[in-house]
């Protein structure tokens, strides 16, 4: 028999022992940043945004949106300490604004993260195809490479639950280093010979009017999506009250600097008046070309790994939502069950089917993968997350109005109110000028159809919640609790409320 610990335990033995297995801030930051995938945004989103929207105030937008998201995070992390299933937005909305709103938010979230994930295949495919054609002499259509990545992600999704942490950590560190190096190189060689801070200043945002700001804010939010995932690991950390906020703010600050810096470097290097045209010609090469040939080559390879890692991270986010909803009974129960080895195969495969359908659709219809799949679906997904952020801010206010618990007024009222006002404003602006975001002429159906999907999802969610209330009240009662649906608890250490 191995030695059992001494039976006379000192006070705090259990706490100390549990703390040893738990994560610190850096692990959570890595987890968050791996989902954000900086190089994907810096090389994928920013040049495409320059080209598609034709607007040049993108660096300023990143800075301003970072501040708004920081304000949002104050209330968000404060509430995440108080609720269970804090890794999902819909839990916040369900506890704050009521269960029907929670189900609506859940469906909106499902649509958002799914779109974000499948959109990435639209960037991976063409880039992998061009890299393979250039360096390996292999000529295959973009959808073949996209399907290849899809297959690997599907297989990983049914074989493993744990993320290969250190692999992603290493890739992430190298990614950030490369982006910073490229940006530094770009800033060192500005067009016209001198550095202009014009693109960084919020004044340039005001020049374009509210339409500009709304559109650019959606692009910026798209870049930051993933920062909200810190509470997913909240229960696994040593000091959740400190670690989750620290990780959230650290990640926000880091990626704000990286994105604003990269976007500014691109605008500076090409010249503010030429950057849109340059982006149209070069695409991701706009970032890669900032530095020397070796850096450029490394960046191109890392771009592919970054896209893959981001697709995997959003795949994980999607199945987490599906699994939690299945556990509660909001979605069919089979989706909330694990197969062999505790792997939620049904949830993972559901998301995989969505991806397969989308890739097949775009391949068959012959639509352009980069602009129509990656950028359109990606920004629509980002728009959905923006809606969720606004809803969550409102939910935070209402929750703390009902459940006072010692949070400061800034956390429970001022910050979420400010964030709610700003985010709602951006949502309204974005809906009004969605065609600018997509880069389509006025009257194009995509400009109203894509945002309308969220309206449809929200209404369907509300309807489904009311049906559940009437037909399955015990399921209705546990909406928002996720894994703790059976226990009916408010917080993991709280009393059972059933």
């Amino acid at each position: 028999m191995p030695s059992l610990p001494a039976t006379t335990t000192k006070p705090g033995t259990v706490s100390r022992a549990l703390a040893r297995d738990r994560l610190g801030v850096s692990a959570v930051v890595f987890f968050v940043l791996a989902g954000v995938a900086p190089l994907t945004v810096a090389a994928g989103v920013i040049p495409t945004a320059y080209q598609t929207t034709g607007l040049t105030a993108i660096p300023a937008a990143f800075v301003v949106v970072a501040v708004i998201l920081g304000i949002f995070s104050a209330g968000y992390v404060a509430m995440s300490r108080r609720i269970t299933n804090a890794g999902s937005f819909y839990a916040f909305v369900a506890r704050g604004l009521g269960r029907p709103a929670g189900v609506a938010a859940a469906l909106v979230a499902l649509v958002s993260y799914s779109l974000l994930q499948v959109g990435l295949f639209g960037a991976f495919g063409p880039n992998a195809a061009s890299e393979a054609a250039t360096h390996l002499g292999v000529h295959a259509p973009w959808w073949a490479w996209a399907l290849g990545a899809w297959t690997v992600i599907t297989v990983l999704g049914v074989l493993r639950v744990d993320i290969t942490g250190w692999v992603l950590g290493v890739l992430l560190t190298v990614e950030i280093t490369v982006v910073v190096a490229e940006a530094a190189a770009g800033l060192a060689h500005p067009a016209g010979g001198h550095l202009s801070f014009a693109a960084l200043s919020p004044v340039s945002l005001a020049h374009g009017g509210f339409a500009t700001f709304g559109v650019l804010a959606v692009v910026a939010v798209l870049g930051y999506v993933g920062f909200e995932q810190a509470p997913v690991l909240g229960e696994e950390t040593r000091h959740p009250k400190r670690t989750v906020p620290a990780a959230t703010y650290t990640a926000l600050a880091l990626i704000a600097v990286v994105y604003a810096g990269a976007a500014w470097a691109m605008a500076t290097h090409a010249g503010t008046s030429h950057v849109v045209a340059a982006a149209g010609q070069q695409g991701p090469g706009l970032l890669f070309g900032l530095g020397g040939a070796g850096l450029s080559q490394a960046a191109q390879v890392l771009f592919l790994t970054s896209l893959f890692a981001a697709a995997l991270a959003f795949h994980n986010t999607s199945w987490r939502y599906i699994y939690a909803l299945g556990r509660e009974g909001v979605l069919p129960g089979v989706l909330g069950r694990t197969g062999g080895n505790n792997i939620p195969k049904a949830a993972s495969l559901t998301q995989s089917i969505t991806g397969l359908t989308t890739i097949t659709l775009y391949a068959a219809a012959g639509w352009d993968p980069v602009s129509h799949m990656f950028f359109w679906l990606g920004t629509t997904g980002g728009f959905g997350v923006l809606v969720l952020l606004a809803l969550t801010s409102l939910a935070v206010i209402v929750f703390f109005a009902r459940h006072r618990g010692g949070e400061s007024r800034w956390q429970r009222l001022v910050a979420p109110a400010l964030a709610a006002a700003l985010l709602t404003g951006i949502v309204v602006l974005a809906v009004a000028h969605y065609r600018l975001l997509l880069g389509v002429p006025a009257g194009d159906p995509a400009a109203w159809a894509l945002p309308a999907t969220y309206g449809v999802a929200a209404v369907a969610g509300l309807g489904w919640a009311l049906i559940l209330k009437a037909c399955r009240p015990q399921v209705y009662a546990t909406i928002g609790l996720g894994a703790h649906a059976a226990t009916g608890q408010l917080t993991p250490t709280g009393q059972a409320t059933r």
Binding site: M1, P2, S3, L4, P5, A6, T7, T8, T9, P11, G12, T13, V14, A17, L18, D21, G87, V161, D162, I163, V232, L233, E235, E236, N316, R320, Y323, A324, R327, R337, T338, G339, G340, N341, N342, P344, G482, A483, H484, A486, T487, Q489, P492, T493, Q495, A496
Partner: protein, 331 residues
């Protein structure tokens, strides 16, 4: 004794070489002992274990049949001795290891700790303990490979340890957490240890589960090994860890049959229902689905809902802990 061919054990009639004949003679001459052979690449060992727990010669492990006979002759002739471990030296071969009692836990200040385990013999009825049955359910009956991830298995077995104590009356699961009940400490060391931990610090079930889960799998495996259900198999390569392998495949499969019969009866046995609930909670649903009727999941839910609140709490918290671990990608 139900026989089953395992990868490592040989049974009477399996072969007719000289070693097999010597083995058969030993079994005939010493019926009090259970003697079997374990083969691994490059090494063959003979393991002998007394069928019924008594003080005195209990377990012998050697790779030399003559030495085994000599030891058994000496051991059965000798009066029961104290807590001694003797090793015989015999040239370059591995010396025989002779244990006169199961080695007690080496926790500080417990040199006088005596295993208060009642006499048990490996059999189809099992040890009668929940966590033991759950361990056997969670691992393959031939290879010992787990069907669930390590943390899920740990959480399930932690729930099993708490449920064991609750069923036997050693602790009471209250809404605020388990409290010690009943004056008599449990008869086995692991359960007594858990009971002492519960007595020392008050915590809700949600904190006990991850704390106990850290070592539950290993502790319960050792308890099963002491009872004769598991044998340690050395790893094939140096960098791998050794594995616990069930000694008797039928005995290892028996807990599933117990679950099946517990769900089929009118008055459902608490042991079987709690076992089924914990198995479903830690992710063994697919395993159960292979052998139980199609509506078993619902029957388990209904049966669990009729348990005492304390036991129900342990099962639901185990399920919540495993699901949370899945959602945090750390299962």
């Amino acid at each position: 004794m139900a026989g089953g061919m395992t990868a490592f054990c040989s049974w009477p009639g399996a072969g007719q070489g000289p070693e097999d004949r010597a083995l058969s003679r030993l079994r005939r001459d010493f019926p009090v002992f259970r003697i079997w052979r374990e083969s691994s690449p490059g090494r063959t060992r003979y393991i002998t274990r007394r069928r019924v727990y008594r003080a005195g010669l209990h377990t012998v492990v050697t790779d030399d049949l003559d030495e085994l006979r000599a030891t058994l002759d000496a051991g059965t002739a000798q009066a029961p001795g104290g807590d001694t471990v003797r090793t015989g030296q015999r040239g370059p071969a591995t010396p025989a290891q002779v244990l006169t009692r199961p080695a007690p836990a080496t926790s500080a200040g417990s040199a006088a700790a005596v295993d208060r385990e009642p006499p048990v013999a490996p059999g189809l009825t099992g040890t009668g303990r929940l966590a033991d049955d759950l361990w056997l359910l969670a691992h393959h009956e031939l290879t010992g490979k787990p069907f669930v991830q390590p943390r899920a298995a740990g959480l399930g077995l932690a729930g099993g340890l708490l449920a064991e104590l609750a069923v036997s009356g050693g602790i009471l699961i209250r809404p605020g957490g388990p409290v010690v009940a009943g004056p008599a400490p449990p008869r086995d060391q692991l359960a007594g240890h858990v009971r002492d931990l519960v007595a020392a610090e008050p915590h809700p079930v949600t904190r006990w589960l991850p704390f106990l889960a850290r070592s539950a799998t290993a502790d319960v495996a050792w308890r099963l090994a002491s009872a004769g259900y598991l044998a340690r198999v050395p790893p094939r390569h140096r960098w791998q860890a050794g594995r616990w392998v069930p000694v008797d495949a039928d005995c290892a499969f028996a807990p599933l049959a117990r679950v099946q019969s517990a769900l089929g009866r009118r008055g459902t046995a608490v042991h079987g229902v709690v076992l089924a609930g914990l198995a479903a909670a830690c992710g063994l649903g697919p395993q159960l689905a292979l052998y139980l009727p199609p509506n078993a999941r619902r029957r388990i839910d209904i049966a669990v809902a009729q348990l005492d609140p304390g036991l129900r709490e342990v099962i639901t918290q185990t399920r919540a802990a495993v699901d949370s671990a899945v959602l945090a990608h750390r299962v």
